[in-house]
């Protein structure tokens, strides 16, 4: 065979193979990677990404956005198709309500607390026959960050109210101070007006919900075994609770934006508020630039936000979406991301290999502002019907 003809043949076979690869790549993204890159990008439509939508609660926004950017930078793929994470924010309660009424179809949900996962699990089982989440499945439903509820106050004012050594039950003391008509006058500071405390709307935001739960536990002097009869059958409690909540001028919509406003307006608007520890840490330095130092107080018993990330078991979560979602979940609990959550955003890691006390940790930096590593005991999460009783009581008697 003369050489030119052989060349032509080789060229032809090569061209056919190339074309074959390109055609195959149209059908299967996995083959795409084999195709000649400059031509591939020019000729073939880019492979459709696998979009994983995440509906999450606002207060972890800064960490999660950074996490997504880092995850995308690793160019993650499933079957040759890139993974695209799409974030949407919402209040913790709105997250499960949106899933229930069908107005949102996310692949992953992440409310502030497993509390909401339990509620969704129960309600969806009733509504659809099978639950859309399974809180017990550690593979698809995972706690990723932790942060307890704290009271954060402008230091100058907390000093006047409580001095250096505050002792006794925080909520009981606060209720007494708030409901005293004399306000700050009683403490020799009439120019500070009435004492102003706030928390978010418990119907919309998890931290508000935790706050009224902790107040209620404190009133009854216990940390477990709260019943609906406690809430509905005790008039003294109801009067105490209604007076406490009646002293609050405005309930915030979400913890993050509420804290932002507190630091933006300063002590004229709020003397103290109940928020997550991580949220308080996030604003420590900013507060100094605006109106002065903040101080953190821990209630006698706390409630933890554990930020579960759960892959939904729903028909819109296709097998490849589920695989992509699982990769993202695994990435969030890597030491790198856990370290980032602690150092930059003040969350307590779930990864035991990442210690709270280490160079650069906010738990060292803000120890003088009342931040501490050891936590008071956690209260028991009451069953769903008791939680609903408390929310209903709030909605009927307090909401305005």
């Amino acid at each position: 065979m003369p050489t030119p003809r052989l060349n032509k043949l080789i060229f032809l076979v090569y061209m056919l193979m190339t074309a074959g690869v390109f055609i195959a790549a149209l059908a299967s993204p996995a083959v795409r990677a084999v195709a000649y890159a400059p031509l591939r990008d020019l000729l073939l439509p880019p492979p459709r990404p696998i979009v994983v939508s995440v509906l999450y609660s606002t207060e972890k926004a800064a960490w999660l956005e950074e996490a997504v950017a880092r995850f995308q930078a690793t160019q993650p793929q499933v079957d040759g198709r890139p993974i695209a994470i799409q974030l949407a924010r919402s209040g913790s309660r709105e997250i499960y309500l949106a899933v229930l009424d069908g107005s949102a179809k996310p692949d992953i949900i992440s409310p502030a607390s497993t509390l909401q996962i339990h509620i969704l699990q129960d309600l969806s089982a009733g509504q659809f026959g099978t639950p859309v989440v399974n809180a017990a499945d550690r593979q698809t439903c995972r706690q990723v960050l932790r942060s307890p509820l704290v009271l954060v106050a402008w230091e100058e004012r907390a000093q006047v109210l409580w001095g250096d050594q505050r002792a006794g039950d925080l909520w009981l003391q606060l209720q007494t101070a708030l409901t005293d008509p004399g306000g700050w006058q009683k403490y020799g500071r009439p120019e500070w007006g009435y004492i102003k405390f706030g928390h978010t709307n418990p119907l919309k935001s998890n931290s508000g919900f935790q706050t009224i739960l902790l107040m209620t536990y404190s009133y009854f002097g216990k940390t477990s075994g709260l019943t609906s009869a406690d809430i509905l059958g005790d008039e003294d409690y109801q009067a105490w609770f209604t007076a406490f909540e009646g002293a609050i001028s405005r309930f915030g919509e979400s913890t993050g934006t509420y804290m932002q406003e507190i630091v933006a307006y300063g002590p004229s608007m709020y003397d103290m508020v109940a928020v997550y520890e991580a949220t308080a840490i996030e604003y420590m330095d900013r507060a100094v630039g605006r109106y002065g130092a903040l101080r953190v107080y821990y209630p006698p018993a706390t409630s933890m936000s554990d930020h579960p990330f759960c892959i939904l078991q729903a028909d819109w979560v296709t097998p490849e979406k589920a695989r992509a979602a699982q990769m993202f979940l695994d990435y969030l609990t890597t030491p790198e991301l856990q370290q980032l959550a602690l150092l930059e955003h003040g969350f307590r890691p779930v990864e035991p290999g990442v210690p709270l006390e280490q160079p650069g940790s906010p738990f060292n930096r803000y120890a003088a502002n009342g931040l501490r590593v050891d936590l008071p005991p956690e209260v028991e999460t009451p069953p769903g019907d008791v939680l609903n009783t408390l929310l209903d009581f709030w909605a009927r008697n307090i909401q305005r």
């Binding site: 120019e191 001028s249 934006t257 004229s268 604003y283 605006r290």
Partner: protein, 555 residues
Amino acid sequence: MLSRISRLLIVVLLLISALPACGYWPGTSKTVTITVVYGSEKKEWLEPLVAAYNAARRKTPDGAVIEVVATPMGSIEAAEAIVAGTLQPTVWSPASSLYIPVANAAWRSQHADDLVVGDPPKLVLSPVVIAIWKPMAEVLGWPDKPLGWADIAALATSPEGWGAYGYPEWGTFKLGHTHPDYSNSGLIAVIAEAYAGAGKQRGLTLQDLQSPEVRSFMLDVESSIIHYGISTGFFAERMFELGPSYLSAAVLYENLVVAQESKRLAGQSAQLPVVAIYPKEGTFWSDHPYAILNAPWVTAEQRAAAEDLLGYLLDRPQQLRALELGFRPADTDIPLGAPLDAQHGVDPTQPQTVLEIPPATVIAGVQALWREVKKPVDVIALLDVSGSMSGERIAAARTSLLEFINLLDDRDGLEIILFSDDLVTLTPLSPLGEKRQEVLRKVSGVVEGGNTRLYDAVYTAYQDMRERGNPAHIRAMIVLSDGEDTASEVQLPELLRTISNLSEGGTAPKIFTIAFGEDADREVLRKIAEATGGKQYDSDPKNLRQIYAEIATFF
């Protein structure tokens, strides 16, 4: 052959790939326009930013180029127009969140949902303060002694005025705030008065408003008001332009004090220094919420464009610019520093406390009470009925005057003078309540003809006001003229000498002049208005109603 095809192919491919880079791709030329109605006191910040934003031709996620049309407007005036549907903006950014619940309540009477849903983000912040000339503040004990609404009220109602403090040459204490039915700071001022009258800092109720103490307290404070006004920004301008004899103090926003002091320190204003008093009982924040309206006229595309504009306004460079102009940035990453300092008359560690925002029903109750206790007005309307007013002009003048009369209370005094060859007093200065129908009927029958005796008319009206006007009332004259003076006996210099009363301060009679149409003698009308601390307006038959309505906000 093959090579020619492949060459062609390469060229075609290159061309196609180059198209998107050049921006020639179908769909990119689409434009989405959004309208923003905002409180006038952030105009200096917002207007240049909107121009820069438009120049940048930013796009929505769907690729439409965003165009923003932003208009300043009194916060409460805007709320009412939006609820009525006569104003249909994409975004409403009033001076404060105070009035949002009231607007929502009104909106809900015709719609299933709120007009403003949830808690809108805030653009910039500024506390409501009492702006006062520094020497006067010092006499009151500033900065060591905390001062409040009650101190201002006591001073305002003292017959000796500044004399009680050893400064009789400063005359009476003259207070100013804007009209609470149009402007946010005016509404805040009267709510603060109600709180001070009730001796409360929170929990103001409708019952409180019925108590004699609250009523008489508000009545007393309002008696020291020189006049009201349509917008806070405009009010600040007058105070800083006309000085301490015109106005001792006014309810303004902190940023307006900073802006004036920056001007003064830069040598652009020769006034005395001015300082901010943060009332010790508490105050309110002007927080400039950015509300994308939940209204049927706002499309999903406009919503996306409005979100993009919001992001731009909250970006660090724009927030830093706000600080330069004297606002407290909403972005908490930006520390409070210069010009928020003593050198600029303000104290960033203040205010120490706020008054609680009352519910919508109580806010409406305060507005109603204010209408009962507000200072009455004595007004003389002068109407040019010379021959040149024929046709559309005289018709517009009649209708506008009729509408203006309807804005006045029964307690207000009204006189109307028609001038052409003769001066005709259509009705003499007396309370409107007893003659309203008669006056309306007479105005409807006004016709034109003859010369223009402008100077004589103003001269006569001024004499009438001096003789028959009540000095405890707001006294004003409104002159509408469409031509030059052609037949007066009084000459201009003599007239100006007679009406010049700026030395008497803000309580002297004011003349507002309307130059109607192209031929009006704008220059003369401006001189007449300015001699009294009034204002001159340019007008035509189309906007005359609006101008009368704006003048009415002074009362």
